[in-house]
Symmetry: C2
Subunit: 193 residues, 2 copies
Amino acid sequence: MSAHSATAQAILQSAHTLIVDGGYNGFSYADISKVVGIRNASIHHHFPSKVDLVCALVADYRHDAEAGIAALERTAPEPSAALRAYVGYWEACITDASAPFCLCALLAAQLPVLPEPVAFEVRAHFRALSAWLVSVLERGAKHGDIHLGGSAKTEAETFMATVHGAMLSARAYGDAQIFGVITQPLLDRLIAH
Amino acid sequence: MSAHSATAQAILQSAHTLIVDGGYNGFSYADISKVVGIRNASIHHHFPSKVDLVCALVADYRHDAEAGIAALERTAPEPSAALRAYVGYWEACITDASAPFCLCALLAAQLPVLPEPVAFEVRAHFRALSAWLVSVLERGAKHGDIHLGGSAKTEAETFMATVHGAMLSARAYGDAQIFGVITQPLLDRLIAH
DNA sequence: GAAAAATTACCTACTAATAGGTAGTCCGTC
DNA sequence: GACGGACTACCTATTAGTAGGTAATTTTTC
């Protein structure tokens, strides 16, 4: 799917790490070139502008997230298991510090200063994630797997917001464990016993 | 308390707005000077460096937050009312777009790239807010005003994370209402009926 | 299957704009 | 006449991005 060369992928990967650390304005071409081992100007060969680079990155990210969710629904067909797997994925990412924040969540925080094409991609991620959560919760509620306090829509938005907030707290405290402390009761509340 | 001149306060206020929009690296002295109406270099007269400026801003912010909470505890002595007032404060800020994000929450998202003195102040805000929430919840649970599902500490962290996540969602969707959609059930769950 | 043409992927060298910050000066007020 | 608060002028580093060139690879054509 991703028609990127090895170098282009290395550029995207380092951009991902850098953005997750400090956001859109928190990195420069120089930072990338240091990591990837090519000259500053050569990045423009792969991505004409910074907007192109970040747009490609977020588009890939959204695609990967979609694929990850599809895979997750196959290995964890029960809604409760899917929610657990989703939270578990992030718990692992935060614990091993491989990607201690959702790329789109971090970019969303800076939405007012993002170039419009990037902002568009970020908004699309939020809509897609929310839509998936709604569908999982509705399915779970129908099967008795999930217990909803309010509407599926409201519970989905609460779920997403709490997970994002838990990422932020883990970062603020410098403590990966707090993510689990916050998300475990969130799952417990939703999953019928 | 704040020994800042009128100009210094104008600088701090515009820095506040700019950071809430785009974070630490999302603004420059030029941006401030345009708003305040003084030259770039004159900002250094009031705040020697950018780190000094943002540190002073966050320190003031923390002080104001402390004062606001103290005032809130006077006007709303009941724990349930205090929680409602806290959420209501942010709902108003987001709705009228006067300060559509918590300064420290936004800075916390960029914690890995913040200068250490700023990072220190930001962490302190999280600890203080968490400590206040714990005390309110404990007090409420004792008086039967609040119903806790888990420990006060866990519920406080969940509360804070959900509020921060709700701010993020409101920004991502460009819809202030989503903040209330997420926080109303959060309050309902905690407040005994 | 070899020559020619186009494409890929990088390079050096450069530019205009912007970043935060410094030095020294001027002006009004107490 | 000292001082606060602003100024002009300047500096150095960094920003994203451009221009033009080179070597290697791939594609096209005869």
